[in-house]
Structure formats: C-alpha cells, structure tokens
C-alpha cells in the first residue's frame, strides 16, 4: 500500500526530475516499439474489416437481396464473421497492444523478448484470418463467439500463449515490487482467456458434452470472453489513462481490490443468464441471473472511482483526446453493464429474449466501452511510441465525435428496436413479417449508425497512417516532445 501511495504521490511532476524519467520511458518504449506497433497496425486493419462487415450485416437485415447471390456473403456467414473480426481481430489486437505497453511502462524497465511479441502478433492475426476465411468457406460452428472453425483454434490458442507469456515476463521483470490495478486486470485477462478457451474447445469440440450442454458451455464462454478478457483489458487501460493523462489519481483507489475480485467472480457466470426459459437446466440460468445481479457491486465501485476521478478535472476531459475517449468508454460501460443486469431479469427476458436487444448491449459493451477505451489509450501511446505529435488533431477530434455518434446510433437502434421486436414476437401472435415491418425503421437506423461508425474508423485509419509516415520535425527529433506539455505526461 505504501508503494501504491508512492505511485500516486509521484503523480506530481515536481517530485522527480522530468528529464531522467523521460529518458527511462523512452528506453522502455524503444524496447517494444516494433511489436506494439505491430499489434496496433493489426487492430486498425481489423477495425476496417469489421466495420465493413458490420455495414454489410446491417444492410442485409432490411435489404435481404443485397449481395445474396454470392454464397459466401450470405447473412449467416457475414454475421459471425463480423463479430469474430470485431472481437478477435480488432479488440484483441488493440487490447493486447494497450495492455502490453501499460504493463511494460508500469514495470519501469525496458522489456526484452520483443521477437516473441512480434511473432505471436503475426501468428494471432494469421489465425484470425484463417478463422474468418473458414467462416466464409462454410466451416463455421454454430456457437456464439466460437464460430471460428476448429482448425483455426489451435493456432489462435498457441499464438495467445506467446502474447500472454510476453506480458507475464514483462510483469515479472518490473522494477517495483508493488503492482497497480491495471496490472491485475492485464494478468487476469491473460489467465482467463487461456483457461476459458481451453474449457470451451475441450467441452464442445474435443470431448463434446451431450446435446444442449454444448450450448451451455458456449453461453458460459461467450459471457466470459467479454466479461473476463475484453473487459479486464479495457479496465486496465482506464485505470492507467485516468491518472496518467488527466493527472488525477483514482478517487477511492483502495476499493479497487473489491471491484476486481467481485467483477471476476460475478462475470464468470453472468453469461449464463441468456439461457433462461430454454431447454437447459433452469437452475443454471438462475445462477446466471444471480451472477448478473452481483455485477451491481463492481459496477458501483467502478462508477464511483471513474466518474469521481473524471469529474474532479472535468474541464480537462474535453481538452485531452485520450481522456475524452475514456470518458465515453466509462459512460458506455455503466450503461451497458446496467442493461446487462436489467436485461437478465426474467420479466425483461420474456420480452427481449432472442431479439436484437442482446446484440445491442453487446455492441455497446464491446465497441462503446472496450473499443473506445483502447482507441483512447492508443492515441496516448502512439505519440510516445513514435516520438511524434498527432499530425492532425482536428481529424482525431472529428473521429471521436463521428465514432461516438455511430456507436450511439447503432446501440439505440438495436436496443430499442430489439425490445420492440421482442415484445411483439414473444408477447403476441402477430405475424412475424408484420412484426418485422414494424421494426424496419430501427434496422434502417442501425445501418445509418454503422455507416457513421465506418466513416469514423476511416478517419482513424487515416490518422494512424499519417502519424506513421509523417517525418519527424526538428522539435520532435530533439526527443523532448512530451516534456513540453508536462500536464499531459506524469512520471510513474
């Protein structure tokens, strides 16, 4: 605890000479520049792929003729390809880039093993490409978030082991014995993915459980992939960025332990709530509902910590690009988790079950929370990693508003439209096509949202390529770039 206090008391830049710190940080950045940049490149590539697929998916929902002549572009293939590209492509690359960089920076020491990280990154992306192509080819499995064909799974798993080991080694070689909440979440995410992916692969494909129990395992995995892998990576980023970019310690940091363990505990079964009413043992779904309600505890702590910290320096939120993203992510996290909790209520599920409601909540959680947190962190990492300023801040500004608006629109369309659709589907005997006509507006709205989001992503890609290719200015070559704005960079 003493050391954690040190961590925060040292936030005030006057305590330590800026120069030596900057020097050390640059050494750390240099030690992993190539590999982390590789992950970020992968994430931008996959984000573009996912936004294109997402657009196709949403157009197909209200215009079924669109691309329907091509057998490998049928809705049933593009839909899982979209979600898998989004999660295994974009969010894993972006999340691992953030987590690797954060763990190394918090460790306070240059990290070796760059080639391990770089090779694993390449392997991971090849595995994801194989997986997506497998879906298009027709080898998908029917389990949510496990659609990648079975032959892609070993590659995916093996390359994740490489990525995970790098993160563990970076943690192990840290200079300070203390650890910060970001590091806990980073480690937890790595451990959890290895564990849940093994369980899912073994219990569904290697030694398949009987009948419907495969669906139970898949629901468990799907919930955990989001709650125990993607969310911890995003939380690690938020815990890191708020103190670093805002210069504001996490208010109520002492409660982080409670939030951490209760989040892991309740998330680990919350995904089962989606099995309510189906041909599954009823008590398993009840465990899921109870666990979802348990999420109130960590949600409360997170909301208090993040919102208090952000509001403590409210005026800076809009001036600092990374923090703006993190603010959006925090709000999206609170809304999405609340919707998860209330959506698991039996009464609500009676209306929303099997509708787009769940997709909307998932979209908000993955894209609005995790995606925005990662994008904000990457905007923090890039200038430091490359020792260049963001070449065009208005473009990055525009990207934030456009992406934010796109995510908001898609979420509203899917959540509200899903509720309207589900209430009619589960609560009346109206003709299914009439119900569809009734909710057509929302499906159309989600296409508008997906297009807006795609424009934002395009701006992101342009920003990213711009900063990669632009030559360093004289000022940037002098390597004192970050020091010029001390309020934006605080030592460890």
């Amino acid at each position: 605890m003493n050391l954690i206090c040190n961590l925060f008391s040292s936030i005030f830049p006057s305590l330590e000479g800026d120069g030596s710190n900057r020097d050390r940080e640059q050494k750390i950045d240099a030690s992993m520049r190539f590999a982390v940049l590789g992950l970020i490149k992968g994430s931008v590539f996959w984000l573009l792929v996912a936004s294109l697929l997402g657009l196709i998916v949403s157009i197909k929902l209200h215009k079924p003729d669109y691309l329907s002549d091509i057998s490998w572009m049928t809705y049933g293939k593009v839909y899982p390809a979209f979600w898998n590209a989004l999660v295994y492509g974009w969010l894993f690359n972006a999340g691992l880039a953030c987590v690797a960089w954060i763990v190394a920076r918090l460790g306070g020491r240059p990290v070796g093993n760059g080639p391990v990280l770089a090779i694993s990154t390449v392997a991971w992306n090849i595995a994801a490409i194989i997986g997506v192509f497998g879906i298009f080819k027709g080898d998908q499995t029917p389990y949510r978030m496990l659609e990648f064909p079975t032959y892609a799974a070993p590659f995916l798993f093996a390359s994740f082991i490489g990525l995970g080991i790098w993160i563990l080694l970076a943690f192990k070689s840290r200079a300070y014995r203390s650890s910060f909440a970001s590091q806990w979440y980073a480690l937890a995410g790595v451990f959890c993915f290895v564990w849940i992916y093994t369980i899912a692969q073994v219990m569904i494909f290697c030694m398949p459980a009987q009948g419907v129990f495969q669906s139970v395992v898949a629901a468990w995995f799907g919930g955990n992939l989001i709650g125990l892998v993607v969310a911890p990576f995003a939380l690690a980023a938020i815990y890191y960025i708020i103190p670093k970019a805002l210069g504001q310690h996490i208010v109520g940091y002492r409660q982080s332990g409670i939030a951490f363990w209760s989040w892991i505990l309740f998330s680990s079964a919350a995904g089962l709530a989606s099995l309510v009413n189906g041909p599954f043992p009823a008590w398993v779904a009840s465990v899921g509902v109870t666990a979802s309600f348990g999420l109130f505890l960590p949600l409360t702590v997170f909301s208090m910590q993040f919102l208090s910290s952000l509001f403590a320096s409210f005026s800076k939120i809009w001036d600092t690009l990374s923090i703006r993203y993190v603010f959006y992510a925090v709000v999206a996290f609170i809304v999405a988790t609340s919707l998860t909790i209330f959506g698991s209520l039996r009464g609500v599920q009676e209306a929303t079950q099997f509708s787009q409601f769940a997709d909307g909540v998932r979209y908000l959680f993955l894209v609005g929370f995790a995606g925005m947190a990662f994008t904000g962190t990457i905007y923090y990492i890039l200038p430091r990693l490359l020792n260049k300023e963001i070449p065009n801040t208005p473009l990055a500004d525009l990207q934030f508003w456009v992406q934010g608006l796109g995510i908001f629109t898609v979420t509203v369309a899917l959540v509200y439209g899903g509720y309207a659709h589900g209430a009619l589907l589960n609560g009346s005997t109206a003709d299914t096509i009439d119900i569809l006509k009734h909710t057509d507006t929302y499906l159309f709205l989600s296409t508008i949202g997906a297009s807006i989001f795609a424009v934002g992503n395009f701006a992101y890609a342009v920003s990213f390529i711009w900063i990669l290719l632009s030559p360093r200015t004289e000022k940037e070559k002098s390597a004192d770039l970050i020091e010029a704005a001390p309020e934006l960079e605080f030592p460890n």
């Binding site: 839909y79 480690l187 959890c192 009948g211 569809l436």
Partner: protein, 208 residues
C-alpha cells in the same frame, strides 16, 4: 495483490469454481441421457441420411444466426404461434453432434418446422426466393443452392414450379442442387412432435 501468482491462483479458483458449478455439475447430473424406446417409437426420432447431410448445410450457411431451434412453453407465445406444442427438453437434442439451439430469432423458430411446413415444394420455393412464399420477409434468397439450366428433352421432374413473376426465361428450368435437397430434407425432418412426460406444456401448467 502485488504478486502475479496471487492473482493467478485467485482467478484460477474463481473461474474453476464457476466451471465446476455451472458446467461440470449439470453435465454430470443431466448430460448423459439415453433415448427412450426403440425403432419407430424411439424418442427422439432419428433423421434420415439425407437430412443429416442437410444439417451440415444448415451449419455451413449459418442459419443458426437467425433461427433458434427451441420451443419455449413456459413463457412467450411459441405454442400459440404453432411453433411447437410443448417445451423443448434436453433429450430432444441428444443425437445431435452439433446443436443449433441458437440465440437470435430474426426469423421463426425451426424446432418443429417439419410439422408445420410439410410440403417439400414450399421449402424449395422459399429457399429459391423467400418473396414467393413469404412476401416481405428479410430472409435472403438462397438461389445459389439451385441450378438454372436449359431444358433438354422433357425437362426435369425436380424443376421448381415458379409463379409467373419469378419464372425464368423460356426453355430454362430451375433445379435444386444436392445441397438444397439435403437442406429441405432436414427441414422436413425437424420435429419434436413426440410426447415427453416431464416436458412442460401449456395444458399442464396450472398457472397459465
């Protein structure tokens, strides 16, 4: 919390606990069901060979992303809609190597589609272009499962009888491929229309 192993063990214990309680325990309790009866009366009924191939087509095309295969009788209006007469039970799925319980209902539930749509012809036309049988549907056309070919001699007896608005030009016919035939056989075979004593059905539920 300052050491990696502590976090590792903590997370391992929690996730393993969740795994043991919510996955291992129910599978041990109820994950080893055997079919009831033999031959014609066997529950669940078996699919034919062609229908089994249709299952693979169903998986390949990702039909599960829009269609569930589970009837709910405890809540909702599945029974009123005629999508089934009772709650789907784990035993209905024990023959299935891969299950398509699904999570989304963009389209209707298919657990009993073989009972309510009994004509193969309807399915063929529906797959060729859903607008023919269900105007306004947002199901995509699966015309790529059909072959348009020149009529030689008398023409095939498997050729689709298309309404005028969707007919192909004179001298040509639309014939289902092997995949379409398998898929339709699967659709016709999808049924849970046998009695299971413990399955909840509306008439058995006093509170409904």
């Amino acid at each position: 919390m300052n050491r990696g192993p502590f976090i590792f063990i903590g997370v391992l214990i929690i996730v393993s606990l969740s795994w043991a309680v919510t996955l291992v325990k129910p599978i041990q309790e109820a994950g080893n069901l055997s079919p009831i009866g033999k031959g014609e009366d066997r529950i669940p009924t078996r699919l034919t060979g062609l229908a089994e191939q249709g299952r693979e087509v169903y998986q390949e095309l990702g039909c599960v992303n829009c269609h569930t295969q589970q009837t709910l009788a405890l809540v909702g209006t599945d029974v009123e809609r005629g999508w089934g007469s009772r709650q789907s039970m784990p035993i209905d799925y024990i023959d299935q190597k891969v299950v398509f319980t699904g999570t989304n209902r963009v389209g209707p539930d298919l657990a009993n589609v073989g009972n309510r749509r009994t004509e193969a012809d309807w399915h063929y036309r529906h797959f060729y272009n859903p607008e023919i049988t269900s105007p306004g549907s947002n199901m995509p056309s699966f015309a790529f499962l059909f072959e348009k070919r020149e009529i030689v001699g008398e023409g095939s007896n498997r050729a689709l009888a298309l309404p005028e608005a969707y007919a192909v030009e004179e001298g040509y016919e639309v014939v289902p491929t092997r995949k379409a035939e398998a898929l339709v056989a699967y659709m016709l075979g999808l049924s849970q229309a046998y009695e299971i004593e413990e399955a909840p059905a509306p008439e058995k539920l006093a509170f409904k």
